[in-house]
Structure formats: structure tokens, C-alpha cells
Point group: C2
Chain length 343, copies 2
């Protein structure tokens, strides 16, 4: 029996309008069967009581869940960029009349359970890794999904959107060269991931295009400030130290920046430093850290567009935005910024 | 008609086992009606095909959605603490056999729609504000919810869990006093929110208990490093400047810390500084910033416990953990740390 207040049932609407439940159901689902005066009366009762169709019933009938599945890491080093992406994705999914269903775990079995229960209509895959098992698994079963990120395998199934990492690293080299730097090092993270190798390729291509050496490549052991400092110490100890450093993340860049100062050099003037992700760290460093801002709003919008797109294999690369600060006062130009690629 | 692969239907199970659909349905919902040999055969088919009951159908029958609603800010200053809370909450909700449904907006109307559609079974309210309208609105309609945070009204309806802000500020005063500091200032944020006043009360109570003055109270205009620096400049300009500062957030504390150094003073030695939330900023500052770590794992577990608790009005206060670093090398003791309060 319906309780006073929410949620309102079809039975309550029928009583209010003085008609049968079947009539109310017809008004909602087959209005052509109902005489117009009755339709209006039922419509007024629906408004007056604030009735909304039961989502589970409607989804069942339409064979849809109205939900998009998204996996969050249970506990992990904080990733403010991915958290912001989730907030924006939630809003974009809502605008398209659905909601996000969150889960953790990420092993293929979790996806299998949700698919088997018809709990979601599609997935947004994020935090992708090299040779990620999820894409092929879902594609083989015709489960709709969009990937935010590449898996760097030969042929990645399904639509994806990603940052053009190589492109922005190439532009960073050009910008640093423009400021007069000629010995541009790259400080990466240990572990030859596809994303990292893509950015190295961009740095190399940028150096080659300008006739600069690309031999100063070192790795920080882990993605931390301390490890960045250690990597920079090694670079500065070498025979011909760099006059600029492109670091593959903001924490590593902060470590590089600190080591520059610790050795009595001036960031930006003696040694330019750039980071990645434009995190709060980047503005806290003395003089500010030049970094790359990822177009997170566009990522969220593009993911939802791809979800609803008929074309199953679209791939979109979006350009990163260089945020110029004291550690490398790169002059920004419009040139080469609007890069798109779509299969 | 079912497609090859997922999801498997009752019809497919029936064909596989050589029985009627009604028999399969009975095996799932009224097994006592089915002869044991048939039950086993159907069970084997279910396993072999990987059939799982349709979540929407099951939820409809059980009059439950299996989902807990949670509102995320669409776009906002990043809050890594709340993002981490969401990840841990997702895992805890999953352990209890449900999932989190995300939405944005947060106006009472959004909650109304989700309730009317029976899209969720309950809500977890977060990012609470003074006189938050949601708690009373949901309580009046008997919609289950738990609040992570207080609304600072006379009588907050529904169960809640929150940080004991006053308690940890009192302990910070005691810890600073223990280090020899006697002129302990409090740098807050403009705007007299309940949470802020609660922490001020704790600082005052701590000072009173030790016979220290509690007149050095200033506000940073906004929650930023710059504003913290401005507030500290004012404090240091006064007749009798402080020898310790409790700041109400990490960004403000970093601003205070910078101003101390800018004026040629040594943080920790000349002027002790403490922050709040133990964000990545706290470890990046030179010498490290003493801060308060919120027990986010316990918050998530407690919220889910309260969701399922029969007692509708339990309130839980959890203690903050003081993380001692160079800016205020407070010696930690077990005393007064395990604080609980439950109505």
C-alpha cells in the first residue's frame, strides 16, 4: 500500500482522477487509446500528485538501465585530474538523461557481473593501461563502451578520446627553443608505458625538427617530488648539463625545480622547467611552474558524444594547453594548437 | 529476442535445461516448488550460461533500486579529500551489495526527481552547509539518508557522522603549548560557518584551559595561499605577534608559512604553523607542514553502517589525526585521541 508522501503510485493517480489503473497506464504509454477529456483529467492528477513513472519498471520495459558504469580506484594516490573528469562526466551523462553508476575493482569479472545483471547500458573506461584487457573483452560481447585513454595495442577496439601527449611535448620543445634554450632534457617516470613513450616521441620529434640533441633522457624512479629531485641531480652532474627540462608530471617537475634552486641556479633563467597536469602544486612553487592543462571539460563532453554516436570506431585526440608561468615563460601562439584526429 | 552472448535470458536457460520458463523462474524465486533433480539441472544451466537475474526486474519485485544516491559538485575547486571519500564510499557501498548512483546539482528538486522515480533507496548527503535544506526535506518524506557533515541547526534530523573539529583544535593548542608556544593565533576563513565556529571554539577552549590568551583571531579572505599570506602579514605587524598559528586549511597554512619565511623567521622554531586536511601541499612545503588528517576510511565505513542501522538518529564524531612535521613538531600522545560521541 502506498505511503503518504513520496513515491506516488499509479493507484493513487487513478483514485485521484476517478479512473481505473489501466486507464492511467494507457495515458502514460498508449495515449491514443484514451478519450481526450479523460487524458486531461489524468494529466492534471499526475501533476497535482507529482507522479513519476517507476524508473525500474520503465527501464525494464525499454530494456535499458539508464545508467553508465564507471570504475573508480578504491584507494590510491590522489588524482585530482581524474576526479574532476568524473564530476564533469557525471554532469554530461545527466544532460543526456542518464546517471553514472560507480563501482570499484576493475577486474573484467566485475564488468561481467554488471553486464549480466543489466545494471548498466554502457561503460566509460578510464585509467587505461597498456594492453588493457577490458576493451577487447567488452567488444567481443557487443557491450557498448567508450575509452578515455589509449591502450597502446596494435588495434584498440571501440571509440576512444585521449590527450595528444606527443603533440604537446613537441610544442613545449618549440616554445623552449623560442626562449633560447638548446639543451632540452626530458625527465620521465620509470617504466616504458605507451603514454610515456608517446610523450618521449613528441619531445624527440620536436628536438629533431629544430636540430637539437635528444640524448638527455632520464627517469624518476617514482612519480614524486623527491624522485624528481634525484633525477635532476644526475642531469646537473653530467658533463654538459641541460638548460631546460620537460618533466612528465607536476610532482617530478617540482622536484626538478627544487634541485635547480638547491644548486644555486635560477629556474626560468638558468634552467627552464615544465610539468604536466597543471595541478595546484604548479601554482604553489616559487615563481610558478609552467605546466600542461588537460582539456578535461572537452574530454567529458566527447566521451558522452561518442557513447551516443552511431559510428563505432571514432578516435579523438585533443590538444593540451600550455599554462605559462615563471619556470618557463613560453610565449603561446595559436599555431598548431587546434589538433584533431578522427578515424 | 536474446542476442548471442550477454546478457543471458531466462528463456535461454529454459531451452538449455529443457524446461519451461516458469520452471526456471520457480527455481530462482520459489525453489520449494521444484523437484530436486529438475532444480539441479536448471542450476547447472544457469552456471553454464552465466545467467544473472535482471537487476531491474529483481529490484522492481523487491521494491528496491539497489542504489545509493550521492551528489558531486559539477565543477568546483578541487577537493581531494571529498574525492577520496567518494572512492572509499563506493567500495563500502559495494561491499553491502549495492552501488552508488552519481548526480550533480544538489537542489532539493533533483533529490525529489530521483525519489519519485524510485531511482535510489537512500542518499548519502555530503558537502553539507549551515541550515542545509536537504535533511529536513528528506526526513519529512521518510526518505532514508545519512549525512556526512553537520548542518549546525538546532536539531539536525537523521543520522550523521562528522569530524570533531573542536576536539582536534583543542589538541593542537595543547601540543603547541607543550612545545613552549604561548601566543597561539587562529587564522580562519571569512564567513562564520558552523564548522569554522566549531574549530574556533576548540581553539578558545584549549587556550582557556591553559591560561593562554585567545585574542589573536584573524580571517583569510578566501581559502588560498595568497590570502593566508596576507592574514599572517597582519598578525606579524601587530604589537605582540604570535609564536604559533593554527590555520583552518592547508592552503591558508602554506600562505602563513611563506609569510613567516618572507619576514626572515623560521617556521617551527620562531613561529609554529599547523594546517588542516593533510593535503599533498602539506608535504611539499620546505620542512613539511604539520596538518590534521581526516579519518576518511572510517567516515566511509560509518556512513554505510548508519545507512543500515535501525536506530534512526545516531550521531558519530570521529577524531582528526595530527600529522606532525617540521612546521610544528608536536609530540603526539594517546591521550584524548579516541573520542566518540553517539546520541
Amino acid at each position: 500500500m502506498a505511503r503518504p508522501g513520496f513515491p506516488v503510485t499509479i493507484r493513487q493517480v487513478a483514485l485521484h482522477a476517478g479512473v481505473s489503473r489501466q486507464t492511467v497506464s494507457n495515458v502514460l504509454n498508449a495515449p491514443h487509446r484514451v478519450e481526450s477529456g479523460t487524458r486531461q483529467r489524468v494529466g492534471s492528477s499526475i501533476e497535482a500528485l507529482g507522479y513519476r513513472p517507476n524508473r525500474n519498471a520503465r527501464n525494464l520495459a525499454a530494456r535499458r538501465a539508464g545508467l553508465i558504469g564507471y570504475c573508480v580506484p578504491e584507494s590510491d594516490t590522489p588524482n585530482p585530474f581524474m576526479d574532476r573528469f568524473l564530476h564533469l562526466l557525471t554532469a554530461e551523462v545527466e544532460r543526456s538523461g542518464r546517471n553514472v553508476l560507480l563501482f570499484t575493482g576493475g577486474a573484467v569479472g566485475v564488468y561481467a557481473d554488471l553486464v549480466a545483471q543489466r545494471a548498466v547500458d554502457a561503460f566509460v573506461l578510464a585509467d587505461t593501461v597498456d594492453d588493457d584487457p577490458r576493451h577487447g573483452w567488452l567488444a567481443e560481447r557487443d557491450v557498448p563502451f567508450v575509452s578515455f585513454g589509449r591502450t597502446w595495442t596494435g588495434r584498440q577496439p571501440g571509440p576512444w578520446v585521449d590527450l595528444d601527449g606527443a603533440g604537446v611535448c613537441r610544442r613545449l620543445v618549440a616554445g623552449l627553443h623560442d626562449l633560447g634554450h638548446r639543451r632540452i632534457a626530458f625527465v620521465g617516470k620509470c617504466g616504458a608505458t605507451g603514454q610515456y613513450l608517446d610523450r618521449v616521441r613528441g619531445w624527440r620529434a620536436g628536438c629533431d625538427a629544430l636540430g637539437l640533441p635528444s640524448d638527455r633522457l632520464v627517469c624518476a624512479e617514482v612519480d614524486t617530488v623527491e624522485a624528481g629531485g634525484v633525477a635532476m641531480r644526475n642531469l646537473l652532474d653530467s658533463e654538459v648539463p641541460p638548460d631546460a627540462v620537460i618533466a612528465v608530471s607536476d610532482p617530478i617537475a617540482v622536484g626538478v625545480h627544487r634541485e635547480v634552486r638547491r644548486q644555486g641556479l635560477r629556474p626560468g633563467t638558468d634552467v627552464a622547467v615544465t610539468g604536466f597536469d597543471d595541478s595546484p602544486l604548479a601554482s604553489v612553487v616559487d615563481g610558478g611552474l609552467t605546466s600542461v592543462r588537460q582539456p578535461v571539460e572537452r574530454f567529458a563532453r566527447t566521451v558522452v558524444d561518442l557513447l551516443d554516436s552511431a559510428n563505432g570506431d571514432r578516435c579523438v585526440l585533443l590538444p593540451g594547453e600550455i599554462i605559462s608561468r615563471g619556470s618557463a615563460p613560453i610565449r603561446l601562439t595559436e599555431q598548431d594548437v587546434n589538433e584533431w584526429e578522427s578515424r
